[in-house]
Amino acid sequence: MMNDAFDLRLAEAHIEVHKFRSGAIVVSTFFALVLQAFVPVYFPKFAVLDLPLLVVVYFGLSRRNPSTGLLLGMVIGLLQDSLSGPTVPLGLYGIAKTIIGYLASSIGARLDTEHPAARFALTMMFFVLHQGVITLTRRLLLAEPEPWFTLRLVIAAAVNAVVAVVLFTLLDRLRKS
């Protein structure tokens, strides 16, 4: 076990774990949820974005702690569920974001995810995976017919990835120097 830990430290020696200013995660989460539930009234196309997911991915990649990543994903997902009305049962987005939070933190602990190209690719991948988990949950647990793959999904993933590159740069400013 000690060897395992030692090997892990060697492998990840160059990966920096980022700390954030106090309240940064809470405030970012809150803003993401409020914007997600408000802006589409005036700009319907905004609904293609999943800001809470981007927040989960960003803090997962930056904090690089799978346990906190998955818990953050769960909390944000459940809050998103609860804001989405009774057509979305509690746990639908919760499960998907828990998994994304865990994976983002795990990948963040092994790869350098600071480069915009890496952030673009990872966000796109996480978005597709997130929708895949939601579709799986809807099909298996809720018995709701949901298509696996649509053109809209690909477009939405690309749009979210572009927004993520910009948003992540802004969120970088909340890091403690």
Partner: protein
Amino acid sequence: MAGVPSRHKSLVLLAGVIILQVVLLAVQIKRDSQGRLLRVWTVGAVSPFQRAGAKGIGNIRDTWSHYFALQNTTRDNEQLRRENDALKLQVNQLQSKAAESDRLAALLNFRQAQRNVPMLAARVIGTGADTGSQTVDLDRGERDGVRRNMGVITPDGVVGKVIESYRDTAQVQLLTDKYSGVGGMLAESRIQSPVGGTGEPLLSMKYIPTDETVNVGEHVVTSGMDRIFPRDLPVGIVTEIKTGRPFQQVRVRPAANLQRLEEVIVLLTLHPLEKKETQAPAADATGKSVGGTAAVNP
């Protein structure tokens, strides 16, 4: 977790958290419970910001239209005058048709009846937080008499129904939601069929037999059979027809602009509204409409 290697602890935690949420989902399905407590807290925390944002945007728009956009006023006036003339013409045509048509006469009766229907204007302050959401949040809730299953309309047509009501806000399921539906009928032939959402901008009229004639451009109105909406409210216009067996696939564009809703009207009654001619005298005996007003009694 003492015996679990530290790097596996997060995996165990992941499994535990997911199982917990699967159980939560199962409980909601089994008991038809919607986790109302958490929803009340979350909506209560977020809705003041939505409300403030909606008010702020309204103020900005007012300021813009009153002070900065005055240079367009003359052009707008001219355009409005032209529209007004066109509308007058349209109204005249409608009035002459109404005199000849029983259906339009009934519709006019109903519109007259609507004067006594308790209604409430509400502002749209938000949408569901899920991607591609087909729900909107209103700035009126239980305190204003809004209850689940009340119909929501605009002057253009049907919007949807209230699916959850909180103290100061309510959530409305739009007609375009794929689990949404309204009792509809073709305005001319009076053929009835449910009209349902597809998750896309167009609605689907599901059960029109193949041997019935349907025309593109035909109006679809409410049938009143869903016991939520009164008869003869505009639902939409037929835009596409595909033959099929045993039913045609009829696509309908919603009459109300569901993509850009800012103000709506909530029908403050949980009882089906009927046309004047078909109103049962016992309606008042059974009906206690919200707000203390009789549902429809012209």
